[in-house]
Every structure is written in structure tokens, then in C-alpha cells.
């Protein structure tokens, strides 16, 4: 009987827990890194930084943030910090575990022990530290951030209680009722002054109210130490309604005297929200959220664009690019089937999947455009996704005209590989960051960057064509019907190269013109410019080589494979040099991945070229 009732109770409590809906909570506006975004994005970006994924295994980002804000104890026990490096766990003297996951409590105390070391590390240049030292410093910064978020609303906690009537009267608060720092805030100066005077008095002569004041002051000081919590900027600008107007964190609002009747209301609802979280009362929770949103919108009227916030929250939830890559993978598998069993049907379905996959891809990019009001090409992450789309769309057009499956092959390979690469770039934080002043112009982003992105896409299409041509030349099936049309392929290779050349040359020159317009020089030998020029020159080189008959189609195909390497180097490689205007986003692992990619491609091109030439000789004999 007991077990049954326990079971029912469990179900009941689970039911309650599931009842609270965090979706609306995620749509509350916040200013973070200079941009107004839904709280959901804020939660995801931070979680991505701590946990390397934007949702926890057991709960989504919204729920995690709510827990951190409203139930500190549980949040500090939750395993959120991912530490992969064994050297770091050794240095901190914590036990390494399989998931590489640790809780705030598990990490913060060991970090305190090595604080002197961290302080010393801080004074050393980042480049001179070892990777594990860098990770220790980073972990320290993360812990600070985690704690900062947790303290954002600490003044609505209610640790105070006044058990003496006289004091309660003086402070104009209720007797024996739980009180927050905010409730006592209006008498803060009075309490502190009194406590200051009482400290000078002889301890034995202190009355009961005196002692209460001393304790109260001490407690308030303690809570007030959280005032540096600035990250959680949910209070919109109330008076100046400009895009650049400052937002404030709750603590900043009260400590800087930015409060108003509206903010008092605002914090009251946050307080109520906390209670409904603790009581798991769904109705009250929803009610509070809608009130918070309402006040937020009133205060931030003219600054907050509610449609965009909703759009972004939905965009986060939908994970369009994950959907796209799944469909591309499916399409690729179906295509492989069609080759094994010469099934025209499979090939058609596979092509259908490719087109279907491009839908969420396009929708995702379009939504990003709308949310940011700029073309989706401003960060490395975005540019990879855009290049992938160009590749896929180009491949679809190709497949439409040739109908031999090669287009589908190109589209799926490019879509899968590039989207996969893009996911590792998402970890850099908010992928919708603000742009440096020079780049903040839609006209040039839309012309130069979009053109060059299309150029990159065409280059990759050409590169995959090169692979197909070489492999097909080597593996000639005796049944001519099963082979791709080599002559046609050869023609396509030239055509696609011309398109690639057109867009890269145009994009590069447009970049120069932008530079001329913006800082007065057409060409500055900046690494990225050189990279773009290198792509143009390489394309010119192989085209001219082909024209004067120096390159036979096989050599040309190998040259196209190298095009892929050149583009990758110009695209990612120049960031490794860390000089010039275009150096954004730098990670150590890029260098190795790039090297690996280049080597694999070179070996591939070399091997097949060798095999093909050898076979040709045999044929001649």
C-alpha cells in the first residue's frame, strides 16, 4: 500500500514538474553582448560554453537557467562543467570521470585552493601558457560567470525576518514575516548608519533592537556583495529609447538608482515567479511570466521587437540545420543504394531527400537574416552554412539538367561535410554576434561577402566533380550504361570552374572596392585578400593550362581537387596567421584539421592520378 501511494505521489509530482512550461520563460527579452535576444539564447550560449552543448541531457537550456536563478542548491550540484583534459583534473585534484562532467561544488572548492596559481597565470600572456593552464584559467572564468548568473536575482531571496515590533515599525515592515533585501532597501542607509554608530558602543550595553540592527546590517552587507552581478541585463532602458541605450541587470538597477514604480512591479513578479517555481504551480508560473513580459515590453517599448524575439526563440528550438543534415545523410544513403542496385527509383527518392533537406537549410538561413537584419555571411559559422547551401543548390541545378545522380552526390557530400564542420564553430558563443564598426554595412556584406561565398560554393562543387571524374576514369565498368558520361563530365568541370572563377574574381574585386570605399585602398596584401587572390590565380592557372593543352582532363580533374584545398586554406587557414583585418575566430584544432584535409586530398588526387596514368599505359600496350 505504502509503495503504491509513493508511486502515485511520484507520478503526481512528475506530472506537476512537467506542467511548468519553460517555452514562454525563454522568450523574456535580455540584452547580452550588445544585442537584445530572448533569454533562451542567453541560456543556450552560456550552456554551450560550460557544457559544450546548448541543452543539457536531462533538461533544456530554459529549464537549466530557471533552476540556476531560482534553486541555487540544485543548480550547484548539477553536473554542468565539462573538463576533458586530464591534466586539469590532476591540477585541481579532482577525480576524473567518464562523462568529463562536474558540478559547480565539485570544481569551485578545488579552484579556490589553486587561486594563487591562477592569479599568476593571469599575468602571463595567453600564448606562453600551456593548453592545460589556459583551460584552468578558462574554467575559473566560467565558474565566476556561473556564480554571477546565480546571484542575478539574489535580492529577492528572503533571508530576513524582524521579530521585534519596535524595529518592524521603524522599518515599516511586517512583523515576523520573511523579507528580502529589496524590502529593506529603502531603509538601507538608516540601518547601516545605525549599525556604524552601534559598533562604537560598549557591547554589554547593547539593547535587543540594537543587536537586531547589527545583525541586519551584517546580513545586508553579505547580500549586497552580489551587486557586481551585471550579466543578467533584463531591465530595459526606461527613458531613452535608442538602440544603443543601456540595459541594466537587476542589481545595477537598484544600486545605481535606476529603479521606478515599474521596476518595483517587475521585481515583484520575478519574486512571485521564483515562488511558483518552488511550488511548481503551473498557473501562477504562466501568469507571472506573462506579467514579466508585459512590463518588459512596456519599459522597452520601441527598443524591443517582440516578433523577432519570438522568431529567434522558435529558431533556437527548431534546430533547422540539424534537420537539414539528417536529410542530407539519408539522401546520401539512398543514393548509395541506387548505385548498388541500379535503382532509378532510389535515385529519384534520394534526389527528393536532397531537395527536402535544403528546405530547413534555406528556412534557417532566412530566419537568421530576418532576426539579424543582415545577410547570413558575417561570421565564419554563418559563412560555412551559406557555402553549404550554395553547394547544395548548385548541385540541385546540376542534377536537374543531367539527371545522372552526380548532382545528388555533390549536394549530399558538401551538405553533410560543411554542416558538420559548422557545428564545431557554433561553440564560439552567440553565433549572432554584433559586428565591428567597419563591417557594419549591409550593402557590402550583401555584395562582396555573398559573391565570394557563392564563389567558394562553386569551387567545392568543382572539386567534388574532379573527384568523381578521376575515380570514374579509373573504375570503368564493362557495361557502358553503368558508367557516367566522361565527356559530359569533362565539359561540366570546365563550366563549373568558369562559374567559380566568375564569382571569386567578382567577389575579390568587390572586396577591393569595399576597401577602397571604406579605408581608401583597393589592395593591402592582407592575408585574406591574398587568399582570395590565390583562389583566383589557381583557377586561372588550371583553366589556362587546360586551354593551351598543358593539362589533359585527368590532370585538370586533379587540379580541381587541389582547388578544394586552396579554398579551404584561403578560408580557414588565413585565420591561423592572426594578422590583418579579417582574422576572426582562431582555434588550434583548425590547423590540424586543415592539414589533415589537405594531406588526404593530395594523397587522393596523387594516387588516382598515378593509377589512371598507369592504366592508360597498359591500355596503350
Amino acid at each position: 500500500m505504502k509503495t503504491i501511494s509513493l508511486f502515485i505521489l511520484m507520478i503526481f509530482s512528475l506530472q506537476l514538474k512537467a506542467d511548468i512550461d519553460f517555452t514562454e520563460f525563454g522568450k523574456i527579452p535580455i540584452l547580452h553582448e550588445g544585442r537584445i535576444k530572448p533569454i533562451n539564447t542567453f541560456a543556450r550560449v552560456n550552456l554551450l560554453w560550460f557544457y559544450e552543448k546548448s541543452n543539457l541531457k536531462e533538461m533544456d537550456a530554459n529549464e537549466w537557467l530557471a533552476e540556476l536563478l531560482f534553486d541555487r542548491e540544485s543548480a550547484f550540484k548539477r553536473k554542468v562543467f565539462r573538463i576533458r583534459n586530464i591534466d586539469v583534473t590532476k591540477a585541481l585534484n579532482i577525480k576524473h570521470n567518464k562523462d568529463h562532467l562536474f558540478s559547480f561544488y565539485e570544481v569551485s572548492y578545488p579552484l579556490k585552493e589553486v587561486l594563487p596559481t591562477i592569479n599568476k597565470l593571469y599575468s602571463i600572456d595567453e600564448k606562453l601558457r600551456t593548453p592545460s593552464q589556459n583551460q584552468i584559467v578558462a574554467l575559473y572564468v566560467k565558474i565566476l560567470r556561473y556564480y554571477e548568473i546565480a546571484r542575478s536575482l539574489s535580492f529577492i531571496n528572503e533571508p530576513f525576518m524582524i521579530p521585534l515590533e519596535s524595529v518592524a515599525k521603524d522599518l515599516e515592515v511586517d512583523l515576523n514575516k520573511k523579507l528580502s533585501y529589496l524590502d529593506l532597501f529603502k531603509n538601507k542607509e538608516m540601518i547601516f548608519d545605525k549599525a556604524e554608530n552601534l559598533k562604537k558602543k560598549d557591547r554589554k550595553k547593547l539593547s535587543k533592537p540594537d543587536i537586531l540592527y547589527l545583525i541586519l546590517a551584517q546580513q545586508m552587507y553579505k547580500v549586497q556583495s552580489d551587486e557586481y552581478s551585471e550579466i543578467f541585463k533584463v531591465v530595459p532602458p526606461q527613458f531613452s529609447k535608442k538602440e544603443e541605450s543601456h540595459w541594466f541587470s537587476p542589481w545595477q538597477t537598484i544600486q545605481l538608482g535606476k529603479g521606478s514604480p515599474q521596476t518595483v512591479q517587475f521585481f515583484k513578479f520575478w519574486n512571485s515567479l521564483k515562488k511558483s517555481y518552488k511550488d511548481q504551480s503551473s498557473n501562477q508560473w504562466n501568469h507571472d511570466i506573462s506579467n514579466i513580459q508585459k512590463i518588459s515590453n512596456i519599459m522597452g517599448n520601441g527598443v524591443i521587437n517582440k516578433t523577432k524575439l519570438n522568431l529567434e526563440a522558435n529558431f533556437n528550438k527548431a534546430e533547422y540545420f540539424t534537420k537539414a543534415i539528417s536529410l542530407y545523410i539519408l539522401s546520401f544513403l539512398l543514393l548509395s543504394f541506387s548505385w548498388l542496385y541500379k535503382g532509378l527509383l532510389f535515385r529519384r527518392i534520394s534526389f527528393g531527400c536532397l531537395i527536402l533537406g535544403s528546405v530547413p537549410h534555406i528556412v534557417g538561413l532566412t530566419l537568421r537574416c530576418i532576426i539579424m537584419s543582415r545577410p547570413p555571411v558575417s561570421t565564419l559559422y554563418e559563412s560555412i552554412i551559406s557555402v553549404a547551401l550554395v553547394g547544395v543548390v548548385g548541385a540541385i541545378i546540376y542534377e536537374r539538367s543531367k539527371k545522372d545522380g552526380i548532382g545528388t552526390f555533390i549536394g549530399t557530400t558538401l551538405g553533410v561535410i560543411l554542416l558538420f564542420v559548422s557545428f564545431s564553430y557554433e561553440k564560439g558563443g552567440d553565433s549572432m554576434g554584433m559586428l565591428a564598426a567597419v563591417l557594419n554595412t549591409n550593402f557590402w556584406l550583401a555584395t562582396h561577402v555573398v559573391t565570394i561565398t557563392i564563389g567558394y560554393g562553386c569551387c567545392f562543387v568543382a572539386s567534388v566533380l574532379g573527384h568523381v571524374y578521376l575515380v570514374q576514369t579509373y573504375i570503368k565498368n564493362k557495361n557502358p550504361q553503368k558508367n557516367f558520361d566522361l565527356v559530359g563530365l569533362n565539359k561540366s568541370m570546365k563550366g563549373v570552374t568558369l562559374y567559380a572563377l566568375f564569382f571569386t574574381v567578382l567577389g575579390t574585386i568587390l572586396g577591393g572596392i569595399w576597401a577602397d570605399q571604406s579605408w581608401g585602398r583597393f589592395w593591402g596584401w592582407d592575408p585574406k585578400e591574398n587568399g582570395a587572390l590565390l583562389i583566383c590565380l589557381w583557377l586561372l592557372f588550371i583553366l589556362h593550362g587546360r586551354l593551351i593543352g598543358y593539362f589533359k582532363p585527368k590532370m585538370y580533374a586533379a587540379g580541381l581537387i587541389v582547388t578544394g584545398i586552396v579554398v579551404a586554406v584561403a578560408w580557414f587557414g588565413v585565420n591561423l596567421l592572426n594578422v590583418g583585418l579579417h582574422s576572426y575566430g582562431f582555434t588550434d584544432s583548425i590547423a590540424y584539421n586543415l592539414l589533415a584535409f589537405s594531406l588526404i586530398e593530395l594523397v587522393f588526387a596523387g594516387t588516382f592520378l598515378f593509377l589512371v596514368l598507369k592504366k592508360n599505359k597498359k591500355d596503350l600496350v
Binding site: L31, E33, G34, R35, I36, K233, P237, E243, E244, S245, H246, W247, F248, M434, A436, A437, V438, N440, T441, W444, G495, L498, Y499, L501, F502, V505, L506, I509, L510, G512, I513, D516, Q517, S518, W519, G520, R521, F522, W523, G524, W525, D526, P527, N530, G531, L533, L534, L537, W538, L540, F541, H544, G545, I548, Y550, V574, L577, N578, V579, G580
Partner: protein, 356 residues
């Protein structure tokens, strides 16, 4: 020839770009891209960027003149080549005939000159005619050991005895009595050229040969008190500085405005509100990111700013470039050419073909 020129240019481009990591942008550019001959490891000579591009240019030129068949099939390619030819021609004109530098103006102040980014000069200021200062300049070709600066009605000559592209100075243990002024107390020492070209501080030591006596001096860029030379009782100022150009108009900085993204220190935009003064006519205008001011062949861009407490200073870059229009024209021509060629390939223009 063209073919191998391209190949070599790509090699140079790759090496030069990688070299930027250690040498910095400007030095690598001088060494690999703007040079006629590159010396690998200091001993092996190879064609430099300028020579290679020259070869490609001549190749293109020859192609255009002698090998352009006026056939529909290749008309697109020919047009494209013409565009490429113009692009490089523009590059040559820009390379040889343009000059640029930076103009630094405090709020409320007026300026009518700008300083070259790279080129240096030695300026001797003769302030005898009290109403009109006479400035005699010697360009960077004089900055070499053994060069002699004279003429221009100067009653003395100067012999350079030491030049360093990037100097540090050290206090001498015992004052050197052979030197006068700055050089008496401090000794100039060579250091390696900095990665950031602007961090270099060049200096010279020289021998002043007057009518009666000779004496030694040292000067360095950006000295707080300018070195003066006294010859026959007349005082001259001398300094080493970035080459100065005078503008045919004046710029007065009224206000400098910087906007940040909300609650961050990241700049969203910065702009200078200025008065353009030409022959006493004042006109208000704004120079900001991506919106330069063009006037009388000069283009002024918002490039940077300095902030010291309340005082704000704008840094504009000024360019005078005769080859400016070439990239615009040539890019249009190249695009038209490639589009025509693609159309021909796709068979869109077949109707133009008569009997072939």
C-alpha cells in the same frame, strides 16, 4: 610565359603571406610583393612580385595586341582579358602615383596637412623670416650612411654618419663631448624592425659642417623637444618625421562621436563632424565609417580615434590616387566578358552566328 608567371606568383603569394606572421604586413609586402628581386635566405635571387606581375602584364598586352581573334566564340574571353589588363594597369598607376597618410586632428582644431604612413623625411626649419617659416625637406633616399644634405641656400651641410630604421636610445655613462644636444646624453642603438610598421622609431646621427666648426648630433622620431642647430648665430630646427603633404584645403574637427553597442565597449560606429574650409568658405560635413569625404582629388576616411579623458582626437586617412577608377571599370568589363563567354558556351548566342 603567362602560365608560369601565374604559378610563380602563387608561390610568392603563399610565402609572402606566411611571412607576414613573423615580419608584419608592411615588411613582408616590401620584401615579396613590391620587390623586383627576392633574395631567399639572403643569397638565392628569384623574381620578385613586381617583376612577376610585370611579366604577366606584358604577356597580357601581347595577347591583346597580337593574338586576339575577332571571333564570336572567343569574344567573351577577349573582353575578360582586356578587363584584367586594365586592372593591372590601374595597379601600376596606383603603385607609382598615389600617396596616402594619416591626419590627426584634436576636437576644435584645424589641420591642412597629413603624414605618410611609411615614408620618412628630414625637415630643417629656418625660422629667420619671422612672418614666414621656411621648411627644407630631404626625403628618405638621403637616409643612408655617407649621404650629404646641402644646398637650398643653407649655410651648412650635413653628413649622415648613422641611420637606423628602428632605434632605441640609451643614456650614456659619461656625456660625449663630441656631440651636442640630445646626442650628448643619449646614444642611439639599432634594434630589429617592429612587426607593426607604426611602432618603428627611426633616428639619425649626423655631422654638421658649418663655415667654422663641425659638430655631431643625434635625432630620433617624435622627440618632445626638437633639436636645434646654431650656425653663425642663427638657430635652425631639425627633425626626422613622416613625410608631410599639404592639402589645398583645411579640415576643422567640430565634434567626434562614437556610438557603442548597448551596454558594451564595442564600437558600433564612429564619425567626425568637420568643417571643410576652402578659401575661407566653411562647409559642414561628416566623415564616418564607410562614408568618406571626397574633395579635390583627395579622399578622407574615418580610420581611427584617440581618447584621453575628455579630449577626443580623430584619425583620418587621406589618399590621393589617380588609379582609383580602374578597378571599378575593369571589374565591370571582366564580368561582362565572363557572362558573354558563359552565354556562348551555353549556346544562348547561337542566333548571332551566321555560317560557320
Amino acid at each position: 610565359m603567362f602560365f608560369f608567371g601565374l604559378l610563380w606568383l602563387m608561390v610568392l603569394l603563399t610565402i609572402g603571406t606566411i611571412a607576414q606572421k613573423d615580419l608584419g604586413l608592411y615588411q613582408a609586402q616590401q620584401l615579396y610583393f613590391s620587390s623586383w628581386i627576392v633574395w631567399f635566405w639572403g643569397v638565392i635571387p628569384a623574381p620578385g612580385g613586381q617583376l612577376t606581375m610585370g611579366v604577366i602584364f606584358i604577356g597580357l598586352f601581347a595577347q591583346l595586341i597580337f593574338k586576339t581573334p575577332l571571333k564570336l566564340k572567343t569574344i567573351g574571353i577577349s573582353i575578360t582579358h582586356l578587363g584584367a589588363f586594365l586592372l593591372i594597369l590601374g595597379g601600376i598607376i596606383t603603385g607609382y602615383f598615389s600617396f596616402e597618410g594619416s591626419m590627426i586632428i584634436d576636437e576644435g582644431k584645424t589641420s591642412s596637412h597629413f603624414s605618410d604612413y611609411h615614408k620618412l623625411e628630414i625637415a630643417i626649419v629656418d625660422s629667420r623670416p619671422s612672418d614666414h617659416r621656411r621648411v627644407i625637406t630631404f626625403d628618405s633616399s638621403y637616409m643612408e650612411k655617407g649621404k650629404i644634405l646641402n644646398g637650398h641656400d643653407l649655410p651648412f651641410s650635413i653628413e649622415i654618419i648613422n641611420f637606423c630604421g628602428n632605434c632605441t636610445y640609451k643614456k650614456r655613462k659619461i656625456n660625449n663631448k663630441d656631440y651636442k644636444g640630445f646626442g650628448k646624453i643619449f646614444k642611439l642603438e639599432h634594434t630589429t624592425l617592429a612587426k607593426e610598421e607604426t611602432e618603428n622609431r627611426s633616428g639619425i646621427s649626423f655631422k654638421l659642417n658649418g663655415n667654422k666648426a663641425t659638430s655631431l648630433y643625434s635625432i630620433i622620431e617624435d622627440m618632445p623637444i626638437k633639436q636645434s642647430l646654431v650656425v653663425d648665430g642663427v638657430r635652425y630646427g631639425i627633425e626626422i618625421r613622416h613625410k608631410r603633404y599639404n592639402l589645398p584645403f583645411e579640415i576643422e574637427l567640430l565634434d567626434f562621436v562614437k556610438t557603442d553597442y548597448a551596454s558594451t565597449a564595442m564600437a558600433k560606429n564612429y564619425k567626425s563632424i568637420v568643417n571643410l574650409i576652402d578659401k575661407k568658405i566653411k562647409q559642414r560635413t561628416i566623415v564616418q565609417m564607410n562614408e568618406p569625404l571626397r574633395y579635390k582629388g583627395y579622399t578622407l576616411y574615418q580610420s581611427s580615434y584617440l581618447q584621453e579623458g575628455e579630449k577626443e582626437t580623430t584619425v583620418l586617412s587621406v589618399v590621393h590616387n589617380r588609379g582609383r577608377m580602374f578597378p571599378y571599370i575593369s571589374s565591370i568589363i571582366i564580368c561582362i566578358g565572363i557572362v558573354i563567354h558563359l552565354l556562348v558556351l551555353a549556346g544562348f548566342l547561337n542566333f548571332l552566328k551566321r555560317d560557320e
